[in-house]
Amino acid sequence: MTALGWFQILFYLFVIFLITKPVGIFLARVFEGEKTFLDSVLRPVEKLVYRLTGVDEKHEMRWTEYAIAMLLFSGVSMVLLYVLERLQRWMPFNPQKLPNVDPTLAFGTAASFTTNTNWQAYSGETTMSYLTQMAGLAYHNFVSAAVGIVLAIVVIRGIARRETEELGNFWVDMTRCLLWVLLPVCLVASLALVSQGVVQNLEPYTTAQLIVPHTEQVRGADGKITIEKVTEQVIPQGPVASQEAIKEFGTNGGGFFNANSSHPFENPTPLSNFLEMVLIFAIPSGLTYTLGRMSGSQRHGWAVWAAMAFLFFAGVTTTYWAEARGNPLLHGVDQQASAMQAGGNMEGKEVRFGVADSALFATITTDASCGAVNSMHDSDTPLGGLVPLVNIMLGEVVFGGVGAGLYGIVVFVILAVFIAGLMVGRTPEYLGKKIEAYDVKMAMLSILILTLTILGFSAVAAVEPFGTSSITNPGPHGLSQILYAYTSSAGNNGSAFAGLNANTPWYNVTTAVAQLLGRFFMIVPILAIAGNLARKKTIPESSGTFPVTGALFSTLLVSTIVIVGALTFFPALSLGPILEHLLMLAGKTF
């Protein structure tokens, strides 16, 4: 570990702290319909959208109506993406003449992008046409992110409003989210990325002659290995920058290229890397401030932020430590950081990012449900890879996905308040709202769905040939690969232990199902909580009220998240990364 490495991590956290308030205020203003500096430009556009679509701006929805609108919207969008993938061969903007996408992969990808997961069982540059990338995938990057954000806003409204059924209008919230938040920021961020060297064009791929040709072993169709001389390289092109900004800002994570943010055309410089990392946490962090502002308890917003920041810092410290330490089995190899090398475990990492920025990115992308990667998590040391896995298992509530992180942590807040709230001698209440059987039921339901999806699918995959045959490394690492696949899917993260061959019918279908369960079966109970909270009276605060502010509450929240998450997944983890780590120390790797 180096001073520079630590500086980058702390500086990053500091920047996130600085932008939390402005982002939070802006989001609150957008969704409360208050004035913003963009109104003069966007308000006419917004009105035009409503006139064309026949949306009544003033109409407020109950939670059920909101949920149905959201589900219909997502369902139709998913079908459109599927159709586009299946027909891309005959559509424009396909200079490479890429064929139609195979049905299970098309279904898996449609589910993946609709659910903001962006799990990719394909290589973008060899599978998706420019049209599919732009009109299909990038479209979903925007709208799935918007869906997450507006749902978080609905949850906050549920907490803040009292004795009402009205939670806002899905179409209005979506429109405002896209127009005011996602499009303007992505426009600016894309240009900033272009300035760093991210490409943006619709050209066919470039073929370059190698200055020094090299030989490669190629396995032929008959299974024979032949030696081939390679003299040229195909360099993919495409509208990358426009997709890159929303990939981060919407915590989507689906790379234009297979190598994702480790590809120089997606993430060329340390500066672009930093910008991408800030974009990932910007909205999730800002939403904690929005929560505080709209619910009238700014200190509660900061207490939630502090709990998230603590878990983030603990995660990044562990990963950085594990990766910087390198592989203890490599005797006689210099793994020390120095002026000439980054040091530590550099397998699967980009030299331009080094260990610290890779550890930081891996933590951020799995804390948030982003899933973009600038290094390969599969190549991390066992403990370094454990952290991303645990981050997702905790429910991605450490800042979390856009919106999803906030509504996810509200579930834990409700549980924390419910379990410990009794200890102050009152029936539990959260910001003046009594937490009752219905709320607990829905909160437990959402946690159960996550657990069932991750552990259930993984258990089947671990003992059935169609599951284990995709494993590329035996032993505990193989189990980690399977666990990671379903954890990432159910958590709508999308990153992978890429060693697993996920493009099989079993994995395409089951991961897609896991993603749909993890997204929509989580959201509906949470919307139900929002609807139920909004109906309740608000009890005024007194000195006898359970405090949801301050260090004590943050500690309680962290403990609840860790205990519920860790207790659920500890047995599985002990046979995966933990065992792998211990075996590595004993001299065995996989």
Binding site: L415, F418, I419, A420, L422, M423, V424, G425, R426, T427, P428, I435, E436, A437, D439, V440, K441, M444, L445, I447, L448, T451, L452, L455, G456, S458, A459, V460, A462, V463, T468, G478, L479, K537, T538, I539, P540, S542, S543, G544, F546, P547, G550, L552, L556, S559, I563, L567, T568, F569, F570, P571, A572, S574, L575, I578, L579, L582, L583, L585
Partner: protein, 682 residues
């Protein structure tokens, strides 16, 4: 608590209670009963599964069964211990119910029918609306209101208080309870409840827990516990495929042990005991809560409405000071006022005599030889006094005395007017004393605030509860007493409908309100309040409107009720937190035990250094079972409640039950493991 009440409970020996509870814990093994408690039901199913496996192993494989046998035994103990906790909690109530049943024995009733005719009917035939006559020595056949007559009644069967109470027609002391006995005189009672629905019946059901319904918070907590149980069930069920993948499959005993250790058995086993014990604590303070919901609501109360008289102040005003006019000797004033009050039998009058005796050492005079002529108080003159030896001494309301003096052609000294204003301003009632045509001075009558009441209000404030004093006094007096007693707010010149309006306005702000009352005109407010405590001496209407009845008729009890409600909730929360925190250590005991044979490297997770995999698993299971027993006293007694702010309370309880819950099992499991190894049990 009164002496008889205490005696009644001491009559049942602990041994009897325990042996009965042990028996009950086996009866409760019935799966239909267990199903009500999902957590313990899962344990029972687990125990049944291991029993079957054990039998299978014995007959078919002839395998070493020592370990499986011990695990199975302790799993059954886990279930039995939880049942025992519930049975212990119910036991006390059951014993009390028996005593009450005796009081409910069939009696004869003289029912009035037609014009002045009566007939003898068994009490079980009485219906609401019937009118009966009860004479001295007879039992009152059912709940009702006295509509004619006055009688002294022995209510010890219900209240435990042996001193007889007066029940009379009209007013706020008209309610009588079935099963109590008339000691003197004769009363006519209109029965207000049907057989099986009487107060005594309800009380029996309540103390027995027969009509016990889960309270809202209990239901919510049960959902949480059931949810956690399912999550851990998933974790354990899916662990087997991972274990198979890893080449280290597990046997049923280990998997069930892991499951039982992880699911929240501690709180699951003690939850209903906590609820029953909370009700029981109320009953021991002679408060009957009509539902568990009311006890829970008591913990949530934000505003307490307290009647001034009898709750905050002693029942009557007392003389506390004499203020002599300039040029008047204070002792002369004292002597004059003593003479004027000797025949005054009102509490105020008596308090003047007491004050003079204590403060000025003046003994009562032998007055007969002076041929006194006492002037009683009348509403017209608004003063009383005495004429003797040619002196005319009067005491009374200031304006009345001023008028009296003015009529005799004298003037009132200027200073005394100010004294009068000062006394009134500080919450007292001024009386003026005149001798002939001269004002001697003033007597201050003040409300005496009950000792220690200020501390109790401070405690309530620390809990975040606002106290509001209700009084018929004028605002000035009310403010002074409020200040003295330390209440947060007051409602002066209050009429019954004002009380109602106040409750409604607080509730509209989202607050929960508690109050107590006795009169019929309190009934609507009692019904409106979230916690309405009716005095047992009150009217039937009040008792039916409230959701609790205080058999001691002590309005101050409201504060204790709130504390009991809070204690109940805290105990529940504390044991839930403890139960969940325990799991951390159990993982460190069982996971390495499961896999360290296949993967010796996992032995580093065995941080407790438990001797063998078998002893580790068994120690965890034994700890899990014993902790239920160890916490039974806490569940029954309740976590001690301290009136401090929520943040302090939370920090304290989180440290004890959260952090303590993480650490305790590490120590406990290690000790059990040492013991097992030492005794060579495994």
């Amino acid at each position: 608590m009164t002496k008889t009440a205490r005696g009644r409970r001491q009559s049942l020996t602990d041994r009897k209670l325990v042996s009965r509870a042990i028996l009950d814990s086996f009866v409760k093994l019935d799966p239909r009963t267990m199903l009500k408690n999902p957590v313990m039901f899962v344990v029972e199913v687990g125990a049944a599964l291991t029993t079957i496996q054990l039998a299978w192993d014995m007959f078919h494989h002839g395998r070493e069964i020592g370990f499986g046998f011990q695990i199975t035994v302790w799993l059954w103990f886990t279930v039995l211990f939880a049942n025992f906790a519930e049975a212990m909690a119910e036991g006390r109530g059951k014993a009390q119910a028996e005593t009450l049943r005796k009081a409910r024995a069939e009696t004869q009733a003289r029912r009035v029918w037609g014009e002045g005719q009566t007939e003898i009917v068994p009490s079980s035939k009485l219906r609401a609306g019937d009118v009966v006559i009860v004479s001295a020595g007879e039992f009152i056949p059912g709940d009702g209101d006295v509509i004619e007559g006055v009688a002294s009644v022995d209510e010890s069967a219900v209240t435990g208080e042996s001193a007889p109470v007066i029940r009379e027609a009209g007013g706020d002391r008209s309610a009588v309870t079935g099963g109590t006995r008339v000691l003197s005189d004769e009363i006519t009672v209109r029965i207000s409840s049907n057989p099986g629905e009487t107060f005594l019946d309800r009380m029996i059901q309540l103390v027995e827990g027969a009509s016990r319904q889960k309270t809202p918070n209990e239901i919510a907590l049960n959902i949480l516990l059931a949810g956690l149980t399912i999550i851990f069930l998933l974790a354990v069920v899916t662990l087997e495929p991972y274990a198979v993948y890893s080449g280290a499959p597990q046997n049923l005993f280990i998997l069930v042990s892991l499951l039982v250790c992880l699911i929240p058995t501690t709180i699951g086993g003690l939850l209903s005991a906590i609820g029953i014990a909370g009700m029981d604590r109320l009953i021991r303070r002679n408060v009957i809560a009509m539902s568990g919901r009311a006890v829970e609501a008591a913990g949530d109360v934000d505003v307490l409405l307290l009647d001034k008289t009898g709750t905050i102040t002693l029942g009557n005003r007392q003389a506390t000071a004499l203020h002599a006019c300039p040029n008047v000797n204070e002792v002369d004033l004292a002597r004059a006022v003593q003479l004027a009050s000797l025949a005054d039998e009102t509490p105020e009058g008596r308090s003047i005599v007491v004050l003079v005796k204590e403060k000025y050492g003046l003994r009562g005079h032998e007055l007969a030889q002076h041929n006194p002529n006492f002037i009683p108080f009348s509403a017209q003159t608004r003063m009383s006094g005495v004429d003797l030896d040619g002196m005319q001494i009067r005491k009374g309301a200031p304006d009345a005395i001023m008028k009296y003096v003015a009529e005799r052609g004298n003037e009132v000294p200027a200073g005394i007017r100010q004294t009068v204003a000062e006394i009134a301003g500080s919450g007292g009632t001024p009386l003026l004393v005149a001798q002939d045509d001269r004002v001697l001075g003033a007597v201050a009558l003040t409300d005496i605030v009950k000792g220690g009441i200020r501390d109790r209000f401070d405690r309530l404030r620390a809990m975040g509860i606002r106290t509001v004093m209700i009084t018929g006094d004028n605002p000035l007096t009310a403010a002074a007493i409020a200040r003295q007693a330390g209440v947060d707010d007051f409602l002066a010149e209050a009429k019954p409908e004002d009380k109602m309006a106040l409750i409604q306005s607080e509730q509209a702000k989202g607050k929960l309100v508690a109050m107590c009352g006795d009169g019929t005109n309190d009934a609507p407010a009692l019904a409106q309040a979230d916690v309405g405590v009716a005095m047992n001496t009150g009217t039937q209407a009040a008792k039916e409107a409230g959701n609790m009845v205080d058999l001691d008729s002590n309005p101050t009890k409201l504060i204790e009720i709130v504390e009991i409600g809070k204690q109940l909730l805290i105990t529940r929360g504390a044991l839930t937190t403890f139960s969940v925190s325990n799991d951390v250590a159990k993982y460190f005991a069982i996971i390495p035990a499961m896999f360290s044979v296949a993967f010796p490297q996992l032995e580093v997770l065995n941080v407790m250094r438990l001797a063998t995999p078998e002893s580790a698993v068994l120690s965890a299971v034994i700890f899990n079972a014993l902790i239920i027993v160890a916490l039974i006293p806490l569940a029954l007694r309740g976590v001690r409640y301290r009136p401090v702010g929520a943040a302090t309370l939370l920090r304290r309880n989180l440290l004890i039950y959260g952090l303590g819950g993480v650490i305790a099992p590490f120590v406990g499991i290690k000790l059990i493991d040492l013991l097992l190894t030492h005794l060579r049990i495994l």
